[in-house]
Amino acid sequence: SEQDVAFQKRIDDGIRIEPKDWMPEGYRKTLIRQIGQHAHSEIVGQLPEGNWITRAPTLQRKAILLAKVQDEAGHGLYLYCAAETLGISRDEMTEQLLAGKAKYSSIFNYPTLTWADIGAIGWLVDGAAIMNQVPLQRCSYGPYSRAMIRICKEESFHQRQGFDIMRALVEGTEDQKAMAQDALNRWWWPSLMMFGPSDKDSVHSEQSMRWGIKQNTNDELRQKFVDQTVPQAEWLGLTVPDSELSWNEEKGGYDFGEPDWNEFMEVIKGNGPCNRERLEARQKAWDDGAWFREGLMAHAEKQSAPIAAE
């Protein structure tokens, strides 16, 4: 249609789409899905890290971790607000999450088993997230783009803090170094999977790129992540658990092995190690909190009730 053409032209001209602008239904739906997933990821992402706040080994690490988890909740809030500009409420999105209809980043379906996992999540998972998110600062949808600008600023802190946890471990005792290596072993492949399936298998990519919702392909970002992270692992004295990993002089990047896409698909389908636990925890928070939300509403109604009605 004419509208579609005009819309695409705005995008191609790099003009941001704002909530009141006309947009194709597919664009809206894609954004709602993507922003919702992203918001849910921040919320569910509180759980694996929150698991270690009460056990953080120093007061400083505890404070940093608390601040990080607080940031994540805050990111969730920005993102839900951005999605709300597209005509969906936070409660609706929450219901979709709890019903298993909306997804969240599958990385959070892995358990945090040692303190080093908190380091590995900051270093690898936040590292991969930034890789995904930096281009989204230029996303064609204004509210999402602006949310991402705020978020990216904080995420890079998180990544440095995660790396710093790893650094302290590898500079520590043999037990600590082993803990760091073990965490890298367990988190490496799930981190690579965070960029999504290989381009040839990616369903939504092409249209999203045309709409300026996505700027790079999954494989491009994955390559970039590997190229950035492998030297960091080397600096830490840790071994990336990939026997196919090698520097490719010609392409100026690393060759690396294929993640286990069967595992990825199983986790996406709900069969990962912690899918049930994560959703159960969110469901419980939601159910146990009903009285709280209803109590506040009841109070607000009393306050706004006209005097005559008393």
Binding site: G50, T58, A63, L66, A285, E294, H299, K302
Partner: protein, 249 residues
Amino acid sequence: MDAFVTFCLRMGDNALILGQRTAEWCGHAPVLEEDIAFANMGLDLIGQTQLWYGLAAEAEGKGRTPDDLAFLRPERQFLNSLLVEQPNTDFGHALMRQYLFDAWHLPMQEELAKSSHEGVRGLAQKTVKEVRYHLDRSRDLIVRLGDGSEESHKRMQDALDWLWPFTADLLATDEVDAQMADEGIAPVPALIAKAFDAETQATLARATLTIPETRLRRTGGRDGIHTEHMGYILAEMQSLQRTYPGARW
């Protein structure tokens, strides 16, 4: 132990243990705004812990660090009030615990901001603003939920009934407090008790909640005699430091 060190440990232990309990809510609160608020309060409390332990460690002069005080003392040496170690039975208990603590903490910090001790004064001046914010927030929620739905009222009353006897431990006094007051380091305890009573009576009345009539006064925390919850809090909190003695993190 030196009275000043004892005083600082009591203050720091309150902050730390309440911070632990607060942090348990991360990702589990009834709304996202509360996840954020609880993380934020936990963060403030851990920050305060570091400051109090810093003063305690310096005054003690035995070369212990704030982390040593947090992670390497056994239960009987923790001097927090029993109130802050009470469990997160439901979110109402968590809010009520926070409110009752704040209602004591703010007048305390306000007075400490005039302390004769430079370190204490500086600490209190630095943190009083966040404590005021905590009380404003928790007072507001107590009123809204107390005077909310039937169920929210009942839950807040249950929480108050359960937690009120533990406020005795916040307000308990001994020769340490007397000495701190004599030296102008900390306020006269009666002053804080008065402010606490005024705050709680006014707010709980607005919240349509009834302060329970009970002879039950639960004290002992300030002397290291805790409830049975405390051992579990410490086993969890200290597990890494205890498992890998001497490691740096």
